[in-house]
């Protein structure tokens, strides 16, 4: 075990990161897609290709339930040392090529085996699920100031075909998070399928507009592969995916369409559960208050955090976006998800179940206290939700008209 020792006014502090080596799980987890190919080849049964889905949606939620939460935080005094340790960054760099390996292995298997239609479908969904993790890797790298990290983020986003993610996420989602204006913050009463219709096109549009604005400020052409980060990543996607169609034929078209959509859907799922119903208040000057830890749903479930580079400690991430994954903190009294992300996604996919578990939690949050004005509510359902949960509301006289207008 490697320890960090620093001298502070309070004395010498020695900290051992017990998760140090366990972060290797986040590095290898994107290879989950390959486990389906191995299981199929080994068992000689096509159903083997379903292993990644089985692992993600039954084994991991069970391990999150069984192993529970990790409330450990590194002492603040050691954070700069911890973040300067290149080991943590290298893991991210090694993860990047694994996304390409996972994607190409799945495409090769679909392109070279005579799979039945359902096995091809499961392969495409599993491969997309693994490629959705490339957005997670790019997410961690894309928040860094270092240009090499940002370059790797741009390259790895070519796998899910989501080259606009970094600028959209950093300059779009983070600036507008937990407000009705954010296309990537879900509203109370909004189901995940309606949210996807807003979040996916909203992300493409906002990402492109932000990149266009940046390039215009620089005085360089927007439609330029030399300057436009989004186009560069899209171009890599196009080369890879057209190459696969040329190599393996038309079977790649449905495979890639499903793969791409499933990868984007992973991000949609994360965005949906991360800020559901939460809203920042407006200050007297008309600006929103800073994003606080209670403006994101958090999960301390140890297992899924260890395969997602601590993504689920989302409260600290949004309050301090440049903080590295190894130093993200747990706080008391946070909005807390009932399971890790994979288990929570399954709840979200069945909207009545999601509302059943989450709406009562949401309205009783410490900073909400059944006040409708402290919630991001879908306008069309506002009156009904106020009535159902007996919420306070500053616009109680206008509740009906708000709902009617929507």
């Amino acid at each position: 075990m490697k320890s960090v020792t620093v001298d502070s006014p309070a004395g010498t502090i020695t900290y051992t990161d017990r998760k140090r080596w366990l972060w290797i799980m986040s590095m290898v987890y994107p290879l989950i897609g390959v486990t389906g190919v191995i299981a199929h080849a080994w068992s000689e049964h096509e159903i083997g290709v379903a292993l990644p889905l089985l692992l993600a949606y039954t084994v991991i939620p069970f391990l999150d339930f069984a192993l529970g939460e990790d409330l450990n935080n590194p002492p603040e005094e050691v954070v700069s040392e911890l973040e300067a340790d290149e080991y943590y960054r290298r893991l991210l760099h090694i993860t990047a090529p694994l996304h390409f390996i996972s994607f190409f292995v799945a495409a090769w298997w679909v392109g070279t085996q005579s799979l039945s239609w359902w096995a091809m479908l499961i392969m495409a969904v599993s491969a997309g699920m693994a490629s959705g993790l490339a957005i997670n890797t790019a997410h961690e790298l894309g928040h860094k100031a270092n240009m090499f990290d940002r370059l790797i983020a741009k390259i790895v986003l070519a796998v899910p075909g989501y080259g606009h993610f970094c600028i959209e996420h950093n300059a779009g989602h983070h600036r507008q998070v937990a407000t009705p204006e954010d296309s990537a913050s879900s509203k109370m009463g909004e189901n995940i399928y309606a949210f996807a219709m807003r979040e996916i096109p909203g992300g493409f549009k906002r990402g492109w507009q932000l990149e266009k604005k940046r390039l215009q400020r620089r005085g360089v052409p927007v439609w330029s592969l030399q300057h436009n980060d989004v186009l560069q990543s899209y171009a890599m996607t196009a080369v890879m995916q057209i190459g696969l169609i040329i190599a393996f034929g038309w079977i790649m078209v449905p495979f890639l369409l499903i793969h791409n959509f499933e990868a984007w859907w992973q991000l949609t799922s994360a965005n949906y559960i991360e800020h559901y119903g939460l809203v920042r208040s407006k200050k007297d000057n008309g600006k929103y208050e800073h994003c606080q830890p209670h403006h994101s749903w958090n999960s301390n479930h140890i297992f899924s955090n260890l395969v997602l580079y601590h993504l689920e400690r989302h409260s600290d991430h949004h309050a301090h976006p440049t903080r590295h994954y190894q130093s993200l903190r747990h706080f008391e009294h946070l909005p807390t998800l009932p399971n890790g992300y994979f288990g929570s996604y399954m709840l979200a996919y069945i909207p009545p179940l999601w509302y059943h578990f989450m709406d009562p939690k949401l309205v009783d949050l410490k900073h909400v206290q059944r006040d409708a004005d402290k919630l991001n509510i879908l306008p069309a359902k506002r009156a009904a939700l106020i009535e159902r949960f007996k919420l306070k509301s500053g616009d109680s006289a206008g509740d009906t008209s708000v709902a009617a207008a929507a």
Partner: protein
């Protein structure tokens, strides 16, 4: 030329250097940055929240 730091992350806007990637040429005064300028590292702090550094020359 003065320097201004983001109150939440390590970003420092140095007027002498500007910030080319975001389109602010070297020599661009902090006062001349657009009103909707946000920290280009963390993106969650605005221009009016930046802190002028004492060691500016």
């Amino acid at each position: 030329m003065a320097k201004f730091s983001c109150p939440d992350c390590e970003f420092v806007y140095d007027e002498a250097l500007g910030f080319e990637r975001e389109g602010y040429a070297s020599g661009t005064l902090f006062a001349d940055l657009p009103e909707d300028f946000a920290c280009p590292f963390c993106y969650v702090r605005d221009k009016d929240e930046f802190i002028a550094l004492d060691d500016s020359d």
